[in-house]
């Protein structure tokens, strides 16, 4: 069934297809439509979920944590300051190994107050134990939402998927809605290994002393380490059943490329168009889309980038006092490649606070990367007018 819908509604449809049982969310621009659509679905009975209204994002996450602990499939969505307000509870979900799925509509963080997109909200939640997946299209959003539940429940890790605010959340695209029966076969009801059960009472999240805390963190690390492989298998199933897959990373026209643009989110689509034009002109340029930021797909990236001469990382984010976050992580991942295979990495910071990244901007980035000397500075800011 094809439908034209905005990214926010694609999120809601994904949650509906996954037959989530408990939703708790608090509205915030640009995520509000997700909450509205889901509450409509709950109200009209097309989604048999309990929708818990709350007074804040902290409570929203607390509510889905409680519900998830009972074994329910749970979902929430937030953005920017809302996500930041959840921060404590994000740790609780991660450490509690609760397979919650959440959509974050990427929005810049204030002040200055800004409702447009960049990735600093979700990237600042890097160390909370959540899987992070950055989506490019509305189709990918629907598909990823469903797959995220399978991934989360297989390994008992929470999964956050990201949509660029407005560029994806409020842009309508045709979306093929997978058949519910097939989705049900793909994603059966959740079986929780531990759950709150009045017949067998246990306290969850209670005191863990130094003699066991570290072991539990190790188990968490192990679970996250298994994510890329698990996702690959899940995507294979999805491909078989629905004919689409995305990958933790995706190389586009990267064969024999001497220069690769490393992107995430909607800027990938723009980069694809630029690369198509460059390829037509005979230039050996490609795109490497990084969908998964946590766990960081180190092995996949080393394989994909080893031997490429120059890499331009497009970061719609910045770690103040350091550089673009994807670029820094990538440098770290590639550091111990043999010198001959290690690409020169150009880290660009651009598009913050929703500033448009046009084909012209990407052309400038390509020119700079191709002709520039290897920068001593970690971060190259594109288009700063001072």
């Amino acid at each position: 069934m094809k439908k034209v819908m905005v990214g926010n509604h694609a999120v809601a449809w994904g949650a509906r297809l996954a037959r989530v049982e408990v939703i708790s969310a608090y509205p915030i621009t640009p995520q509000t439509q997700v909450v509205e659509k889901l509450s409509e679905m709950c109200a009209d009975g097309t989604l048999a979920a309990c929708f818990i209204k709350v007074e804040s994002e902290h409570s929203a996450m607390a509510a889905v944590i409680g519900a998830s602990a009972t074994g329910a499939r749970t979902f929430t969505a937030s953005s920017s300051h809302g996500l930041l307000y959840m921060h404590e509870m994000l740790h609780w979900a991660g450490g509690g190994r609760l397979p919650i799925v959440m959509a974050d509509i990427n929005r810049a963080v204030g002040p200055g107050w800004n409702i447009w997109t960049d990735q600093n909200d979700s990237l600042s939640q890097r160390d909370t134990g959540w899987v992070q997946l950055y989506c490019e299209t509305n189709q990918e959003v629907v598909d990823t939402t469903v797959m995220a539940f399978k991934l989360a429940e297989q390994l008992n890790v929470p999964v956050m998927l990201m949509l660029d605010g407005f560029y994806l959340s409020h842009t309508a695209e045709p979306v093929d809605i997978p058949d519910q029966e097939l989705v049900d076969r793909f994603l059966p009801k959740r079986e929780a290994p531990y759950k709150l059960d009045v017949e067998h009472p246990h306290a969850f999240g209670a005191l863990v002393k130094p003699d066991a805390y570290m072991e539990m963190r190790w188990l968490m690390q192990e679970a996250l380490r298994k994510v890329p492989q698990a996702l690959e298998a899940i995507e294979k199933d999805w491909m078989r059943m629905f004919g689409r897959s995305y990958g933790a990373i995706e190389a586009y026209r990267a064969e024999d490329a001497e220069l690769l643009l490393v992107t995430s989110g909607t800027v990938t689509s723009t980069a694809r168009a630029v690369v198509d034009a460059r390829r037509a002109a005979g230039e050996k340029i490609g795109v490497l889309k990084v969908k998964m930021f946590r766990p960081f797909p180190t092995t996949l990236l080393r394989d994909a980038l080893s031997g490429v001469a120059r890499v331009a990382v497009l970061d719609r984010n910045v770690s103040p006092g350091h550089g673009g976050i994807f670029a820094e992580e990538l440098r770290s991942a590639l550091y111990d490649l043999p010198a001959a295979e290690r690409p020169e990495i150009f880290g660009y910071v651009l598009g913050l606070g929703g500033r448009d990244i046009t084909p012209t901007v990407i052309d400038d980035v390509i020119e700079q990367t191709r002709t520039g000397t290897v920068p001593s500075r970690a971060d190259l800011w594109v288009g700063v007018n001072l």
Partner: protein, 584 residues
């Protein structure tokens, strides 16, 4: 790739989530606390606001539990005339009701009315105390006199009520029209008072038929409850003209079954219930009625419902109009000349004071009914009693300046409503009981009989309060003390009214009240402010599972585990849990 580097031999099985392996009882979280939750029932604002001193919250709570007969008995413990007050009381309880802040006050008067009517069909067992030798006379059979007699009878005294009119009821019968209070209803409520052994002697006027000092000689105590039956004069020129009449006398005629002739155009002067009753009665006799009042709608002392009914039935209102004189034509009143007023600063009553503007206007009129207030007059009365000429001065228990002479109701200088009269009658009964039993304890102990700073409870005076209260604190619970998130919005039930066209044509009761089923539903809207109803919200929300609910209904808090977080008190729907920093 993450790897482990073993620094100690051997591994242990560690679950991937922090799940308890032993009971959490080992963690005595109680040591963390600096404040303590305590169950304290407090006072619902309706109870404190009821001039009668009815345990409204108590009987609504019994109704919620389906204990209808017990609810009836609890209501009757304080109020001898619930079918009457359910119809005519100005219900300050509803103004006080905390549910106003949620979705509208509980329609307490409508529930009371239904209970009053129910008590006629299913009479309560008569409660009579151990018989006492003393006899008490009550002068006047209005609400104050009946209340005093009723409670005294229930305390065990022989009581005789003297009434100057042919039938008992006082202002309830002579002042309030049938379309507000059907006589059959009044008769049944009075019959229950009489059934307690109260002797009611009608057509006896004390001071004329029987001297006051003879009365005080014959009886051990006397309570004066003769009311206020004289319409206050306007004191303006032309007031003596034919066609200008005291409203009260008019009502007395109509209420005695007479149908006095009125002119076509009637002006009622005043804004109280007597004025509204005059206006509505006059309309029923075919007159075109205008109400002239010197302030505005907001300051009218009449019950809101009655103002609305009068308006619905077609009365016109001229506000900010102060009569200056009446002019005559052909020997009868012809016009009322008024001065236009303007509202100034609030006066002692808290209402904005009308101030003259000098602007005059004239209304043509055939009959004027004056209803600007009533005063009391006592014939052949003791001249040495304080307030004998202006309104008797009484103490907290109705005692006048003369020993064993008590007073209640409109004859005193206190508030003039049916509810206040019933409350004063009860206070006088308790005062007389204390006095005759030579019980002269400290009057501060009376505070234990009150609902907060409200009226006294007869049930508490008799030590027969059937409601179990947990460590009660005599303080009113405000809306801020409640947790409204625990309550669903339920609209207040509306009473059915006669169509105004039909109502205007006769004297049938206009407000037909709520059906019994609706009244029982309405009772369930009570939030039980300040009173534990064993709803278990505290127990459910306690993060330490430290609260247990015993079979007898009592809650216990395991202080070894209560960490003093205060969630129980914050979540309690009705403010029945108090946090204290005083170690219990």
């Amino acid at each position: 790739m993450p790897e482990t580097i073993a620094t100690t031999p051997g591994t242990r099985a560690v679950p991937e989530v922090a799940i308890s392996t032993i009971s959490s009882l080992v963690t005595r979280t109680g040591s963390w606390k600096y404040q303590f939750p305590e169950y304290h029932d407090r006072v619902a604002p309706c109870n404190a606001g009821c001039p009668v001193g009815i345990d409204i919250e108590g009987y609504l709570n019994l109704l919620r539990e389906g204990r209808v007969d017990e609810a009836r008995d609890l209501l009757l413990a304080e109020n001898p005339l619930p079918a009457v007050t359910g119809r005519v009381c100005h219900h300050p309880c509803e103004n006080a009701c905390n549910r106003r802040a949620l979705d509208g006050a509980v329609a307490i008067h409508a529930v009371e009315r239904a209970m009053g009517d129910l008590a006629h069909e299913r009479p309560a067992p008569l409660l009579k105390g151990a018989p006492r030798a003393e006899r008490v006379a009550v002068v006047g059979s209005g609400p104050a006199g009946l209340a005093c007699a009723y409670h005294l009878a229930r305390f065990g005294y022989g009581v005789t009520v003297f009434e100057s009119a042919p039938l008992p009821g006082g202002m309830l019968r002579l002042g309030i029209p049938e379309f507000r209070l059907p006589r059959e209803v009044l008769d049944k409520d009075i019959a229950r008072v009489a059934a307690h052994g109260v002797e009611i002697k009608c057509d006896v006027r004390i001071g004329t038929d029987l001297a006051w000092d003879e009365l005080t000689r014959t009886f051990n105590a006397v309570c004066i409850a003769t009311g206020a039956h004289t319409s206050r004069a306007l004191d303006v020129p032309g007031e003596q003209l034919p066609g200008v009449r005291p409203g009260l006398a008019f009502l007395r005629n109509v209420n005695s079954g007479k149908r006095p002739k009125l002119g076509k155009r009637v002006i009622v002067v005043g804004g109280g219930n007597t004025a509204m009753d005059c206006a509505r009665s006059a309309m029923r006799l075919g007159a075109k009625v205008t109400v002239a009042y010197r302030r505005t709608r907001e300051q009218m002392p009449a019950i809101n419902e009655e103002i609305e009914d009068a308006m619905r039935e077609g009365a016109e209102f001229v506000f900010l109009a102060n009569p200056l004189e009446f002019t005559e034509k052909g020997g009868r009143v012809h016009t009322m000349v008024c001065e236009r007023m303007v509202l100034g600063e609030p006066d002692a009553s808290g209402r904005r004071r009308p101030l003259p503007t000098g602007e005059r206007f004239t209304l043509e009129v055939d009959t004027v009914l004056t209803a600007i207030g009533e005063s009391s007059a006592l014939e052949g009365f003791f001249t040495d009693v304080e307030g004998a000429d202006s309104g008797l001065r009484v103490d907290a228990l109705g005692g006048t300046s003369r020993d064993l002479l008590y007073a209640s109701g409109d004859v005193t200088d206190l508030a003039r409503t049916v509810a206040d009269a019933l409350g004063m009658g009860k206070r006088a009964a308790i005062g007389i009981d204390r006095h005759l039993r030579r019980y002269h304890g400290d009057t501060t102990e009376l505070n234990a009989l009150r609902f907060a700073d409200g009226n006294l409870s007869a049930a508490r005076w008799l030590r027969r309060d059937p409601i179990r209260r947990t460590a009660a604190v005599n303080k009113v619970v405000t809306a801020d003390d409640l947790n409204f998130t625990q309550f669903r919005r339920v609209p207040r039930h509306a009473e059915a009214h006669l169509e105004s066209d039909i109502a205007r044509r006769g004297f049938s009761e206009v407000n037909s009240g709520l059906s019994t089923a609706d009244a029982m539903d309405e009772a369930k809207r009570c939030l039980n402010c300040g009173v534990c109803t064993e709803c278990d919200v505290c127990l459910i929300f306690c993060p330490d599972a430290a609260i247990t609910h015993a079979a007898d209904g009592a809650y216990a808090i395991a202080m070894d585990y209560c960490k003093g977080c205060g969630i129980c008190a914050a979540e309690c729907p009705r403010g029945a849990i108090t946090m204290t920093q005083d170690r219990p």
